[in-house]
Each structure stands twice: as structure tokens, then as C-alpha cells.
């Protein structure tokens, strides 16, 4: 087997620039990939470089095949699949690295560079934050520089020239790209689905057990942002309802959605209209300000009056809602449902059940029972804390009668159990409460630290009523947010603190920028495109295509004019001007240079005709030819030539 030779036209400097650029592009991936893949990629790059420096040939085919098979096997062993984002990235990175080992000639660099472009694109499947736009532009610029240097015939170009040309290409391309982004018809995805999507996102889960919400509250991450058309409701009304949990197993509350149509909602026609930009959380719930009255078609409404998306949310979602704070939900509750909302596991919360049954024995009126319950929470020494003691045995009884320290899920869970035990239909609702106003851009930021749990109880004729037992214990939680509600010394997420000074202000500004980015760039999906285009008067595909073609034609035409005129503007050429003068002098002497005559031929003719001029003519012609066609033009050549020609008298 003959070993492939290295191409002398892939200089080691170009190779080094290429390896470094690819490495820089792969850094964000390397942080996610198993360590050995990054190591492999580095080893392949280093090996390839050493081979080039020493002028050795590349590894033989059998070795490359062996390596490839081993690596694919390793990836399969690590991920149990070759599909999906993570495994796909691992494959792409290692294949690019292995491709380096068979990159002989310049045309092989194309394949590697194209793989590099795919690596750049792959990065965005993991993160689409604003800094990634900078990553995109810088890496495209660097990659184009490599492409350009691969096409220099002689390899004599200077790096800054490539950098400039590459920069010019990117800058000139940006207007066209912007038009394409805006007008190129978008199709609704997804076309296929990968097995491991929707990984590791934070957000509420479908269940609630002691500790689950408090854990979420440790995170500063943004859950969603809300822009209101008009006034923003006061903090005490900012209950963002997400999930309704109906089933209690003694430890965990979970959802069981009856397959019935959504219940009747009556409301007064005072409404808030707002847009929510929800961060992806890998599930289907959609938060809504209590109580949503109207939603778009894509949004489903369950029997528990929750909003659900059709598919798990793997990308940011922008939706528009209307909500009314004054409502009546499900005034009629059928007996079988009522029964379901009273169910409790027999074995747990025995003490709580006794307490509730005592209340019920005193009065059958749900209002009285509610009052008794509130008094119970208010009068005893309940503490609202992010770090409650663990409740391994029977969380409700332990919490109510032993520790009395808990976070909102403890209060909501215990209260719901008490209500059910007392014969009042009850269910737990999880969602978010509060939200911080960003004065820049006038919108609310709701973070994971605003996660909350409360209870809805059902009363005849009034439907479901929101009861928030946490508010009895810690009214500040509802009015002023988590930080003010917690005792000093509790680990509060940094951005949930009310006054963090300059940093906080910067963070709000950054968030406003991100909000715009999320809303208008990342959220530019087929439906937003439709509404933007119809606002521009482009309400069918034909007009859109026409506008697209016309705008691109306009931009390209402008660019063409600029580029071509730039070339026409001839640089003043002192050599040509001097020589021109020489020819004019000779022409006056009756020796005109013919069109086809090169300087050398012309000089020969002049010397033949006027031997007396031989010396200056030869000198001038030689200087001119050397300066013009010689490998390097001495900088003083034009000056010398001018001097010779000035003294030349034919």
C-alpha cells in the first residue's frame, strides 16, 4: 500500500492556522463531550501537524480505518446510540479530527472546512444566546480566511490580506443574509425528531414532593418573560398558573387529567392582554396569568384548565394570552369529580385527617373550615424557609405537627390534604408567583426562583378559588418576592435579591437586550414571520418571493457597482506616466510607438533608426521593463525613471 504523500502546497503555516481555528470552533463542544473525544481530536491535530513539519507521509489507510471503527464503537458504547444531538456532535467532532489525518492536498481542506461549518451550526442546537452570534460571525470570518488562503496559487499572500478580504466578504454578505433571514419562507419544523431532545432543562415538573419547588427556587435562570399591553398587574395578582396536581400518594402530588372538555369559565370583561416568551423546559405546560380567558389555536386547554403545548417545548415559545383576575371556574362539579378531589391515601397524614375532621365536625361550611385552617397556620409558629428539615416518613404530619418549617410546597401540600380530609375538594397548583419588572423595555422577568405552589379549593356556586397558605405564613413572599420573605442567612439566589446595585442594573440591561434577541431573532418562527410580512403588505408567497428577489438584486447590484468602480479607479501609476512621456518625446521626434510594440521592440527600432540615442533609450527601457515586469519593484524606480526621461532629448 503506497502511503499518500503530503502536498507541498499546504504550507505548515496554513495548516497550523487551520488546526487552531478548528480547535477554537470545537471548544464549546469539547465542554460537553466526553474527555477522550477532545483528547482524540487534539491528538489527531497535533499528529497531523508534526507529520507536516517533519515532511513525513500520512498514516496508512488501514490505521485510519481502524481508528475510525474504534472511535465509532467508543461513541456507541458511551451514548448507547449514534443518533441524537450529543452522539451526533461526538461523531462530527471525531470524524473531523480523523479527516485531518487524510488531508493531503488543498482540495481535502475543503472537506475539513465544510465539516467545520457544520460544527459551528451544531453549537447552536445547544445554545442560542446572544454571545453565540458573535461566535458565529467570528468563526465564519476565520473559516473564510482559511478558504481564501487555500486558493492562493502561489501561497505568497499575507495573512492580513486574507483577514481583510474575509472580513469584506462577511460584511458584504450581512445585508443579503438579513434579507434572507427576514423574507426567506420559513417552514414549520420539526421534520424529524431525535431521541434525546429536551435534556436537562430546568422548570417545574409534573409532580410535586417536599423539596422539589425549593430546589428550583435556587436557580436564577429565567423561566419566562411577559410583556403586557397595558398596566402590569400588582404583585399580589401575579399568579402564573402552570400545572394542576390532583393526585396525592402520601408523598408526591401528581397530575391525572380527566378526559373531559375544559370546564366553563365565567369572567368579568376586565382583561390583561400580554405576550409570554417562555424558555424551553422540555415539557408541555404553559404558564398563564390567573385566569386565562383566551388563547391562540396552537394552545390546548385541559380539563384542569391548564394550558398545554402540543409538543414538549424544546425551543423558546412566544404566545399571546388574555387573562381576567375576576373569574369563576367550573361552577358545577359533577359528583364523581368531586369525589376524586377528596381522595387521600389511607395510610398517611393520620393526624392531619383527625384535625380536619374535628374542624368539619364543628361546622360543615367550607368557609368556616377555611377560616379554621388559616387560623391554624397563622397562630402557630410556622416558618417559611428554603431549607426545611427533611421529612422522610409522613411529610404532612411531620410538617404540621413536628417541624413546622417549610417552603411553599409544604404549605400547599399540607393545606390541600387538610382540605380534602375536611371534605372540601382541593388540588395543588404549581407555577410561578411574582416577577420582576425590567424598567428597560417595561416587561416582567419571571425566574425559576419565583416558582411557587398553592392550592385551589372548590366551593359550590363559586367554583375553584385560589388559596395560598404561604401568604398566611409569609405575606412578604407574595408582595415583595422570595428574598424579603426568607429569614436572614438563607441562601437566596443572587438576582432574586432586591438590591444588588450596579450589577443588578447591568443584568437588567443585559436581560432587556436578550429579551429583544429572544423575541425577534430567536422567536422569528413561521408564525411571527407571517405576521411581520403581512404588516409589510406581503401576505402571499408570490409577493414575498418577489420582494426577496428584488431586495437581493438591489443589494447585489449596489455591491457590484461599488466593487467594479473601485477597480476602475485606476491608481496613479508613476511608471506608466513616465514611460508615456518618454514615448511622447520620441513621437515628436518622428518615432511613434506602435500599438503592438512592446517597450523592448520599440527600443530596438528606435536604436536602429537613431543610433545616437542608443544609450539613454536602452537605459530608460531597461529601467522601465525591470520595474514593471521584474519580480520586485525598487521603490526609487519611478523617481530614477523620471529623472532619466526629463534629461532625455531626442
Amino acid at each position: 500500500m503506497s502511503r499518500p504523500r503530503l502536498d507541498p502546497l499546504l504550507p505548515t503555516t496554513t495548516l497550523a492556522a487551520m488546526l487552531l481555528t478548528l480547535a477554537a470552533i470545537a471548544v464549546p463542544h469539547a465542554l460537553r463531550l466526553p474527555f477522550w473525544i477532545s483528547l482524540l481530536a487534539l491528538a489527531c491535530g497535533g499528529w497531523r501537524y508534526l507529520r507536516a513539519v517533519r515532511g513525513e507521509s500520512l498514516p496508512p489507510t488501514w490505521l485510519r480505518v481502524l481508528l475510525t471503527v474504534t472511535v465509532v464503537g467508543g461513541i456507541y458504547a458511551h451514548y448507547d446510540t449514534l443518533l441524537g444531538l450529543e452522539a451526533g456532535t461526538a461523531l462530527l467532532v471525531s470524524m473531523t479530527a480523523l479527516k485531518l489525518l487524510e488531508m493531503r492536498a488543498r482540495r481535502d481542506t475543503h472537506v475539513v472546512l465544510y465539516l467545520g461549518f457544520l460544527l459551528i451550526g451544531m453549537q447552536f442546537l445547544f445554545s442560542q444566546t446572544l454571545p453565540n452570534l458573535i461566535y458565529l460571525i467570528v468563526s465564519v470570518w476565520a473559516m473564510l480566511m482559511l478558504l481564501i488562503s487555500a486558493h492562493r496559487a502561489t501561497g505568497h499572500g499575507k495573512p492580513w490580506q486574507y483577514a481583510r478580504l474575509s472580513g469584506a466578504l462577511v460584511l458584504q454578505a450581512i445585508p443579503v443574509a438579513a434579507v434572507l433571514f427576514l423574507l426567506f419562507p420559513r417552514v414549520s419544523g420539526p421534520l424529524w425528531r431525535m431521541p434525546d431532545e429536551g435534556h436537562a432543562q430546568t422548570g417545574l415538573s409534573d409532580t410535586m414532593s417536599p423539596g422539589s419547588v425549593s430546589q428550583l427556587s435556587q436557580s436564577d435562570a429565567v423561566a419566562f418573560r411577559v410583556e403586557f399591553d397595558g398596566d402590569i398587574p400588582p404583585p399580589s395578582q401575579r399568579y402564573w398558573r402552570a400545572l394542576v396536581l390532583t393526585h396525592y400518594d402520601g408523598y408526591t402530588w401528581s397530575r391525572m387529567t380527566p378526559r373531559t372538555p375544559p370546564p366553563q369559565l365565567d369572567h368579568v370583561p376586565v382583561e390583561h392582554a400580554y405576550d409570554i416568551l417562555l424558555e424551553p423546559h422540555g415539557q408541555q405546560w404553559l404558564p398563564a396569568l390567573e385566569m386565562a380567558t383566551r388563547a391562540g389555536n396552537e394552545i390546548g386547554l385541559t380539563a384542569l384548565y391548564e394550558l398545554r403545548s402540543r409538543n414538549p417545548l424544546d425551543e423558546r415559545l412566544n404566545y399571546r394570552l388574555r387573562s381576567s383576575p375576576h373569574y369563576r371556574l367550573q361552577a358545577e362539579l359533577p359528583p364523581n369529580l368531586r369525589q376524586a378531589y377528596l381522595m387521600l391515601p389511607d395510610a398517611s397524614a393520620k393526624q392531619a385527617k383527625e384535625l380536619a375532621q374535628k374542624w368539619r365536625a364543628d361546622s360543615n361550611d367550607p368557609r368556616d373550615i377555611l377560616r379554621r385552617a388559616r387560623d391554624y397556620f397563622v397562630q402557630r409558629e410556622f416558618v417559611y424557609t428554603l431549607s426545611p428539615p427533611r421529612l422522610p416518613r409522613d411529610p404532612v404530619d411531620q410538617f404540621l405537627f413536628e417541624t413546622q418549617r417549610g417552603f411553599c410546597e409544604h404549605y400547599a401540600g399540607a393545606f390541600a390534604v387538610l382540605m380534602r380530609a375536611a371534605g372540601v375538594p382541593a388540588r395543588v397548583v404549581t407555577g410561578y408567583q411574582g416577577g420582576e419588572l425590567n424598567p428597560i423595555g417595561e416587561y416582567l422577568i419571571v425566574r425559576q426562583s419565583d416558582a411557587h405552589a398553592w392550592v385551589e379549593i372548590w366551593m359550590d356556586g363559586e367554583g375553584w378559588l385560589r388559596i395560598d397558605p404561604t401568604a398566611w405564613v409569609s405575606p412578604n413572599r407574595i408582595e415583595q418576592g422570595l428574598a424579603s420573605a426568607l429569614p436572614a442567612g438563607e441562601p437566596i439566589p443572587f438576582l432574586a435579591r432586591p438590591d444588588s446595585g450596579l450589577l443588578k442594573a447591568l443584568e437588567l440591561r443585559w436581560d432587556a437586550l436578550n429579551n429583544g434577541w429572544n423575541r425577534w431573532v430567536l422567536g422569528y418562527n413561521p408564525s411571527l414571520q407571517r405576521s411581520v410580512l403581512s404588516r409589510l403588505g406581503l401576505d402571499n408567497l408570490f409577493y414575498t418571493a418577489l420582494a426577496l428577489a428584488a431586495s437581493i438584486a438591489l443589494i447585489v447590484l449596489t455591491l457590484t457597482l461599488i466593487l467594479l468602480l473601485q477597480g476602475r479607479r485606476r491608481g496613479f501609476d508613476p511608471l506608466a506616466a513616465a514611460y508615456e512621456r518618454f514615448c511622447r518625446k520620441l513621437a515628436r521626434a518622428g518615432l511613434e510607438r506602435r500599438h503592438h510594440e512592446g517597450p523592448a521592440d520599440f527600443a530596438r527600432r528606435v536604436v536602429a533608426a537613431r543610433p545616437d540615442l542608443a544609450e539613454p533609450v536602452r537605459a530608460i527601457t531597461k529601467l522601465y521593463i525591470d520595474a514593471r515586469y521584474g519580480a520586485a519593484t525598487p521603490s526609487d524606480a519611478p523617481r530614477k525613471l523620471r529623472r532619466l526621461i526629463t534629461t532625455f532629448r531626442p
Binding site: Q128, I137, L169, E315, L563, G567, G571, A576, R628
Partner: protein
């Protein structure tokens, strides 16, 4: 030769004639021409098509994951490709092409037409290649307001005039995604001398003296005197000793020269087929010139008095090349 993928770029297989009619080229007038935009064609290269495939992959991925940044990447790269068309195009148009007179060659050798590329504007031209019959023959960078030389190499199978055939000047710079090219028809032709007959050749009549002369050795001829050196005098007749003393170069003359003067005549080879006859004469001229003997040439209607030196040598060969065309 740089191994650029583009050198394998093939045009649609049309007959030469049809190509000529469909694809207008640039014809040099009085030796030069400028590549104008109407004559410059542009098509994607193989790498360009691969790049389009890459864009399609990125675009489909962007749709599937509804990923705005992937859309931006795909659109930005698409726009870059679009803009690169302009740059590739601009790299070629306005380039001035001039033809210089090619050196004569013998039939069977390769004719080399010198081509001067001149960038007239303030822009440098990068990686301009010359392609003839699908083969890349050279590539060069032309600095702004400078000129660079390339050569068109064409086989010269038979004596006579060889006209430069259509070739392409092309560029794939800067990104290699598109290839811009222009057909160029040079109004240049190359004189092709007959191929000198190979192998053992009978000596020309009267050449025996020459043979005797060479057999006896150089020094045996009768030294006659010195005269001023003239361009083309055989080096072994130069009086090196006086040159070494710093005197102007002088050439020794020999009395034997007159008697060894050689007439190469058509009638001596008339019996052969014409081309072989010319080949034979050619060989005699080449040999005589190499020996430094004056020789004359007599062809029907042409008589070149005995002499020697490059000018005479080429005049003789040219007469043979253009004989009875």
C-alpha cells in the same frame, strides 16, 4: 502544477465548433485584448456544489430544530457565496491579455505562446490560471499595475504556421466556489520548423569536406587571421586568449572555410517525399550550424547565401518551415 480541484473542471461536452459559436471568446486585436464582462462566464465548481449541499444540510437542520442561529449561519454562508461570485468575476474582468511572438519550434515539440497578463487598474489579480483543452498550464498572481507572464503550450505536430488555439483564462479565487473564465483567441502564430531527420543521415554533397574537416580536427585548418567578433560566431572560433587579455572579442578566420562552404540544395533531396526532404535539409542545417560551418540553402525560388550564426540559421529553417505552403 498546483493540484487545484478546478483544474479538473470540465465544460459541457459540446463540439468545438458549437462551443465556438455559443461561447464567445475574446480575440486579441493587434496582440492584446481586455476581458470584458460579456465574455466572462461563471459557474459553480465541484466544491461550490458541495458547498450548496452543506447549505442545504444547515438549512434543513435549522428548520428541523427551528433554530434561528442555524438559519442565520445558513443564510450568511449563502450570502457569502453570492458575494463571492462578484469577487471571482471582478478578479478576472478588465484583465488585459497580450500575446508576444512565440519562439519557433521544431515539429513534434511543444510551441509556447507567451501571454502577458496585465492588471491595469489599482487592483491586484489573484490566482489567474490558464487552461488549454481541460488542462491547467499555469497559474499566477498579477500585482496591481503590473504584468505577469503565462505560457500557452500547444503541441506542434507539423511544420508551417501554428495558430494559437482558443484557451481559457480562469480564476476560482477567493473561495473556490465559483469559477469565472473567459475564452481567449490569440491572433498569434508560431513558426514550426520541420523536424530534423533522426538517426544516421547521408552527408550533404560537398559535406565530405566538412567531414574531412571535422575528422582532421579543429586546429588543422589553416589559420588566416582575426576579425572583430560578430554575434553568432561559433564560440570555438573566438580568440579567447585575446579576450582573456581584456581585448575586445575577436574571431579567428580560417582559409579552409571557403573550401568547406556548404550548399544545401533542394535538388539533392528532391527524390524524397517532400516532408522527408525538408526534414533532411533541416537536419543538415542543424548539423552544419552545430559544426560552425557556413552553409547556404537553395530551395526552388529561394536562395540564401552561405553564412552562419543564429540569424542565418533561423532564416534557413523558416524558409523550410514555410516552403510551398
Amino acid at each position: 502544477m498546483p493540484n487545484l480541484a478546478s483544474s479538473r473542471f470540465k465544460l459541457p461536452r459540446l463540439s468545438q465548433d458549437l462551443q465556438r459559436r455559443l461561447l464567445r471568446g475574446v480575440r486579441t486585436q493587434q496582440g492584446h485584448a481586455v476581458l470584458r464582462y460579456r465574455r466572462v462566464y461563471i459557474l459553480p465548481t465541484r466544491n461550490g456544489l458541495m458547498f450548496a449541499g452543506l447549505l442545504a444540510v444547515l438549512w434543513v437542520g435549522a428548520i428541523n430544530y427551528n433554530n434561528s442561529l442555524a438559519f442565520i449561519l445558513a443564510f450568511l454562508l449563502g450570502a457569502v457565496a453570492m458575494v463571492s461570485i462578484l469577487h471571482t468575476f471582478r478578479n478576472l474582468i478588465g484583465l488585459k491579455v497580450s500575446a508576444a511572438t512565440p519562439e519557433p519550434v521544431f515539429a513534434g515539440d511543444e510551441a509556447r505562446f507567451p501571454i502577458l497578463l496585465e492588471s491595469r487598474g489599482s487592483r491586484a489579480r489573484t490566482a489567474i490560471g490558464l487552461q488549454y483543452q481541460g488542462e491547467m498550464q499555469g497559474i499566477t498572481d498579477v500585482p496591481a499595475t503590473h504584468a505577469q507572464r503565462l505560457e500557452l503550450r500547444m503541441p506542434a505536430p507539423q511544420r508551417g504556421w501554428l495558430s494559437a488555439e482558443r484557451f481559457a483564462l480562469f480564476t476560482i479565487y477567493p473561495l473556490g466556489l465559483f469559477k469565472a473564465w473567459s475564452w481567449v483567441d490569440l491572433d498569434a502564430r508560431c513558426v514550426v520548423y520541420p523536424a530534423p531527420e533522426q538517426g544516421a543521415v547521408p552527408a550533404p554533397p560537398g559535406g565530405a569536406a566538412a567531414e574531412r574537416g571535422t575528422q582532421r580536427g579543429r586546429g588543422a585548418e589553416d589559420f588566416d587571421g582575426l576579425r572583430a567578433y560578430r554575434t553568432g560566431d561559433p564560440p570555438r572560433h573566438i580568440a579567447w586568449r585575446s579576450v582573456a587579455r581584456g581585448l575586445p572579442p575577436q574571431t579567428k578566420t580560417f582559409t579552409g572555410e571557403a573550401s568547406s562552404r556548404l550548399w544545401l540544395e533542394w535538388r539533392n533531396v528532391e527524390a524524397l517525399p517532400r516532408e522527408r526532404a525538408l526534414s533532411r535539409l533541416c537536419r543538415w542545417i542543424v548539423d552544419a550550424e552545430a559544426e560552425g560551418r557556413p552553409y547556404g540553402l537553395r530551395l526552388p525560388g529561394i536562395e540564401l547565401a552561405p553564412a552562419q550564426g543564429p540569424a542565418h540559421y533561423h532564416r534557413c529553417l523558416r524558409s523550410l518551415a514555410l516552403f510551398a505552403l
